[in-house]
Symmetry: C2
Amino acid sequence: MAVAPPRPKDLPLSALRAFEAAARLESFAAAAVELGVTPGAVTAQVKGLEAALGAALFERTARGVRLTAVGARALPGFVAAFDAMAGAVQVLRAEAAPQTVHIATLPAIAQLWLSPRLPDLRAAAPEIVVSITAMEAAPNLKRAPYDLSLFPGASGMLLAPEVIFPVCSPGLAARLRGPEDLAAVACLQDATWAEDWAVWAAEAMPGQRFTPRGPVFSLYALAVEEAAGGAGVLMGHEALVAGHMARGALVAPFGTRVTLAQGLRLWSARPLRPGSAVQRVAAFLAGQGWPA
Amino acid sequence: MAVAPPRPKDLPLSALRAFEAAARLESFAAAAVELGVTPGAVTAQVKGLEAALGAALFERTARGVRLTAVGARALPGFVAAFDAMAGAVQVLRAEAAPQTVHIATLPAIAQLWLSPRLPDLRAAAPEIVVSITAMEAAPNLKRAPYDLSLFPGASGMLLAPEVIFPVCSPGLAARLRGPEDLAAVACLQDATWAEDWAVWAAEAMPGQRFTPRGPVFSLYALAVEEAAGGAGVLMGHEALVAGHMARGALVAPFGTRVTLAQGLRLWSARPLRPGSAVQRVAAFLAGQGWPA
DNA sequence: AAGCTAGGGTCAGAAAAAATGAGGCTGAAT
DNA sequence: ATTCAGCCTCATTTTTTCTGACCCTAGCTT
């Protein structure tokens, strides 16, 4: 005979997630990217939340959004809550699929560094399933569903230093006497490492202005193939062109090598449990010495 | 020119919420009640989550569900995460509507204890909006969106002891010589406090079996009105019938009063910030002495 | 043994929520 | 003045979620 409980419904979780992302990133557009939706969806979610609360959370300007005092005071709790949620999801995933390891990395690293090492890894630990996701920028490991990330950076476990120097096919190399000959050939560039040529030139040709001319690639692995095919000179990252150099497809025509401050580094989302699949994969990757 | 990121989509939050509730309560049916949906909806959510994970989270039996080892290891993280989320929502609500206080209580307490005191509260703090939600059982304050809860219980701040004794209209009282006369009149009962008569009878008529006969109400306030109208004898809760007794509508025909172990108590969801609307309302309620 | 009950499962259809896509507005930077 | 990045709106579409009705099983009751 008890009456139906007309309870005040709670706030929708998805709207809270949109608020948290938008507030943390201080941008609806950035939040939309993070959440994988369109900006309009974020607008709608936040608007719905504000309507439910009866208070504004953002101040909108033509240049973007800024948190109101109310929103700013509420934000830290949500950041913590969603961090905790993501952590719980990681634990759940690990429990559900204890032999699967998810790795996030740059496309170039995935193809040129990680991929050649996978056969050995499979041989060493055939029961581990390695899942690799390529992306342009390192994910927020507190949130994204990856166990390991492999990116150039300044902190984390160093897997290989970043040493760069021009590489090209042996045939093309025969026609290059010195760095000044670069002006006469195509200099392949990669969009991800747009600064490479300038950095190297500053070392190899001090005082001279050098503007590389040649095709720009968005996939470094493709640029490597093109260079091996004789299309031009590419700024090689040692860790990524080592395979091609070892089999003679690429050679270094000049002696100048530049070591970048950041190297290829490994991060883990959470402390590695000894014996876990993640820990074993990390140990394998860390143990990959660099073939001289 | 960057390729569209085909990212692995995260687990749906609503499914995680269903899992958390079902796992914590160890019952899909109970989770459905807590979430305000039908059991079928919970089934579907959990099933979807299990499918996404590729692992079973519950063992189903005809008598209910039990967590699997995987589910059990994942649960604590989700409980913590949803607690944090609810806390963040509370903060957000408080920031958005700092002058609103949400109180959860029994219907009977709402009508017979709280309601008569609201005019004084409004007079003392007219800027505070008090929202009262009646429910059958005390909510989980860590989760439910209430600032204060007012229920019979053993812990929390005592607002009034629970003293019970029979009450009836003055006219009916004149025909009652002693407790044994109760067998000849209607004994009104309330579903929420089904044990009241037995408890009181054990004290007032030791050794005798006493089974109250009379209508059963699911709304105590209605039973009080009926009793005042002469419909029978009701087991009165002092804090709730005081108003009617003060104006003579109800009288206590017998001298035996029984004090229950638990009293009317006030809980708050989180520490009271001095000067906050919640703190002021709590102080007002706590300061309500009991008219002798 | 038959009936009852509590707790889950399933399914089709309905309802609600969320997302899209196209167009518009604003103000800072060029 | 023009461009451009960001946000807003709105109608429409897509996806998710929920319901409602019914079935199934195991433990109790009668």
